[in-house]
């Protein structure tokens, strides 16, 4: 009997499925944070595999900034319908109307930061004790030290210096009342792993990821969609370009890449040849060297 070896994608898949099942076993009210981006889509398909043929035993939560691409919302509704999961939408628009948060002013205004409050309010309202997210450790420096099971105190805060050690594949999800966990099953995946897995599993994606003609404008060397959610400065001219999204956030923080990639293989080739990281196009990370760490501490995704 010879020895057997898994491919790296199968081993990553196996690890993520193990973690998703551990969440279902250890927590009473988990939820999957679904953004409509490729990482949370992969997460949704992993969850389906983990519990098949039973239904995914937790709802999906979408924090909607009100500035989402229409394509994202269409894809979201189709997916939850197909998978038979419950969708809960937390609305940043409502948080603004209720006075929970104040809208940022100016041309670089984004509801990215405001999402944190809506997210924490939603977690509290539905008494979720575990929020599963698609963050990866290769995305950003502060995420390189994030745990699979990441503890949040009763205020939803992350303390990077006092994280629980995580050894072997033993995960400790024990917590006091009011505390919750963020769970990151695809922590060990890279951007390339995610794309290769989408190819291997033939996972459908929102059309935004493929090339399309769109009205865009340029700001700080990044192209953004020319849509009402993002006010333009007088000098910012609208032009038609062939673009696609490399990551999908809401309209105000999603940079568009000039691209003609129309298939998964073309996208993979493009990423393999790329010389900037995927978050290089994310306006929200450019604010300071420790921007992500600061946002994560107060409860960001």
């Amino acid at each position: 009997m010879g020895h057997r070896e898994l491919t790296h994608l199968k081993e990553l898949e196996s690890e993520s499925i193990f973690i998703l099942r551990e969440v279902a076993a250890q927590f009473e009210h988990p939820a999957l944070l679904f953004s409509g981006g490729k990482d949370s889509i992969v997460l949704a398909f992993l969850a389906r595999k983990a519990f098949y043929p039973a239904a995914i035993p937790f709802p999906f939560v979408h924090i909607d900034t009100g500035h989402n691409f229409e394509e994202t919302l269409l894809y979201r509704d189709k997916l939850v319908n197909r998978m038979g999961v419950k969708l809960i939408v937390g609305s940043v628009e409502k948080s603004i109307q209720q006075g929970r948060v104040g809208e940022e002013k100016g041309y670089n205004a984004s509801r990215n930061k405001l999402q944190t409050i809506t997210l924490l309010d939603t977690i509290e309202k539905y008494k979720f004790d575990a929020a599963i997210g698609g963050a990866r450790r290769d995305e950003e420096k502060a995420r390189a030290k994030e745990r699979f099971f990441s503890h949040r105190d009763e205020f939803g805060q992350w303390d990077p210096k006092n994280q629980r050690p995580e050894l072997w594949n033993i995960f400790n999800g024990k917590k006091q009342d009011g505390e919750h966990f963020r769970i990151f099953p695809i922590s060990n995946w890279t951007e390339m792993d995610v794309w290769q897995y989408i190819l291997q599993e033939n996972i459908p994606l929102p059309s935004l990821y493929y090339t399309h003609m769109r009205e865009v404008f340029e700001r700080d060397e990044i192209f953004y969609a020319a849509l009402p959610a993002m006010p333009r400065k007088p000098a910012e001219k609208v032009v038609w370009k062939k673009v696609r999204c490399r990551t999908i956030g809401d309209i105000t923080c999603t940079g568009l890449t000039l691209s003609t990639a129309n298939t998964l293989k073309e996208i993979i080739s493009e990423i393999a040849g790329s010389r900037v990281t995927e978050r290089g196009g994310r306006a929200d990370d450019k604010r300071s060297d420790a921007a992500m760490e600061d946002r994560k501490k107060v409860g960001y995704f």
Binding site: R4, I170, S269
Partner: protein
């Protein structure tokens, strides 16, 4: 050297790989293997520089990352681009210039995808080293060629031995500062081989390197013509991994019961989990523990796909013949193979992770595979001084970062293997009853195998 970096020349290595893939069909990249390795070291021995070098030379660093490191280097007043800044993530670390937690890094070559657990090497971070080493297939122990083997080397090697990391690479760094002397290299090698025997280390490989200038990291160095071995990256690409996992006695800790209760799958009932040793096949006779019931594997499912067999570390669901009751925490094993041990008195090496010390009589929650049970500390036999590797028998208080040999009594008996035989069924964690923090990492030993080090 580094200030001459030409960013336009940097292209991820995957692009060359993908061109190849177009020629040979799409299988190339999808067939890569995964290797997890750990590095331990302190600021001075060039560990962060080595990792930065691996990422940089394997073209895994993107322009915007390099630019932000260049900017940061300038801000901090350095003239050269400091590759170490690529890996020191948290704000406190960048400000203090130290690595205080385990950070995970990723890079890939056409052969393998690598996960680096980058850990701080100082004694006060022993717990971080243990954490990072717990999942590693390879440990890289760094030595400063000018200093040779020091306490820290013994400490890192002890941890590699304690955690049973199958391969240890002794990277003798800063060879440029000893004129690439073969004699220096050989002296260190000879001395280390003695330690390796005492620590019962697995496979050991020695490489003379200069992380700062890249000698023998990715490319063969012209400065060490006397060294005939592989470069560090060549080694990482070829060293065998997991080659014995599927040959171990079969173990399947039941994680979750899948019971769909819908019209299409009314009688479906499967036990989900991750194979944690050996191999299971459809038709195998299994024994369910602790109920001691026999059954036969009817099917092995991976999502909607039925498999003929499942091996370590696959996540699958197993369907059994007959109507036997199995729950999370139970263990499936195969008949005609070595059975696990079954006891509530467990002897183990523990690495203490918490500021509140461990003492005899203390009560904790034990988590072992998918099981959980209360436990009490019965005895502290000895503490290990991991700098001298000597045992201390008369100090019964175990502080953070200490490693000790203890005995615990669990309320529910555990089904386990010795850690030396199976890293999954032989490991456990201790959880504080009140704070629920993870306070101890335990590696189960059988009493006969307890050995004393004398160096």
């Amino acid at each position: 050297m580094l200030q001459q970096i030409n960013t336009s020349a940097i292209k991820p290595i995957l692009s060359s790989l993908l061109l190849k893939e177009e020629d040979n069909g799409p299988s190339g990249y999808l067939d890569m293997e995964l290797l997890r390795f750990s590095t331990a070291g302190s600021v001075d021995d060039g560990k962060s520089t080595l990792i930065g070098r691996l990422l940089y030379d394997s073209k895994s660093i993107f322009e915007d990352q390099l630019q932000s490191v260049k900017d940061a280097s300038e801000r901090l007043g350095g003239e050269e681009v400091n590759l170490a800044l690529l890996t020191d993530g948290l704000r406190a670390e960048r400000e203090q210039g130290i690595t205080i937690d385990v950070a995970y890094r990723y890079f890939a070559t056409p052969k393998r995808k690598f996960i680096i657990a980058d850990t701080p090497g100082h004694i006060q971070y022993t717990r971080n080293m243990v954490t990072g080493a717990s999942t590693a297939d390879v440990a890289i122990v760094l030595i400063d060629a000018r200093n040779g083997i020091v306490e820290q080397t013994k400490r890192h090697s002890y941890i590699a031995s304690l955690l049973q990391i199958p391969n240890v690479i002794l990277a003798i760094n800063k060879m440029d500062l000893v004129n690439f002397s073969e004699e220096v290299y050989n002296t260190i090698k000879l001395e280390y081989e003695k330690i390796a025997v005492i620590l019962k280390l697995g496979n050991i490989i020695f490489i003379p390197i200069s992380a700062r200038d890249g000698d023998n990291v990715v490319d063969v160095s012209a400065n060490t013509p006397w060294y005939k071995g592989e470069t560090l990256l060549q080694l990482l690409e070829t060293i065998p991994v997991h080659n014995t996992d599927s040959l171990l006695p079969a173990r399947f800790p039941v994680q979750y019961v899948i019971n769909p209760n819908n019209a299409a799958f009314q009688d479906y009932r499967a036990y989900a989990g991750r194979v944690s040793g050996g191999l299971f096949r459809v038709g195998d006779t299994i024994l369910a523990l602790p109920s001691n019931r026999l059954s036969t594997i009817k099917a092995i499912d991976e999502g909607p796909v039925e498999l003929n067999e499942a091996f370590t570390p696959q996540s699958v669901s197993i369907r059994l013949d007959g109507n036997i009751s199995i729950n999370r925490g139970d263990l499936l094993v195969k008949v005609n193979e070595k059975y696990p041990k079954y006891s509530s008195i467990i002897s183990l090496h523990v690495c203490w992770l918490n500021a509140r010390p461990l003492s005899v009589g203390g009560k904790y929650i034990v988590r072992h595979t998918t099981n959980e049970t209360p436990a009490i500390i019965q005895d502290i036999r000895y503490k290990v001084n991991i700098n001298t590797l000597k045992n201390i028998a008369d100090d019964k208080t175990i502080h953070m970062n200490d490693i000790a040999h203890i005995t615990i009594k669990t309320q529910k008996a555990l089904k386990y293997d010795d850690y030396s035989e199976n890293r999954i069924t032989g490991s456990l964690i201790l959880i504080d009853e009140n704070t629920f923090e993870t306070v101890g990492a335990g590696m189960i030993v059988s009493d006969q195998e307890v050995y004393s080090y004398n160096i």
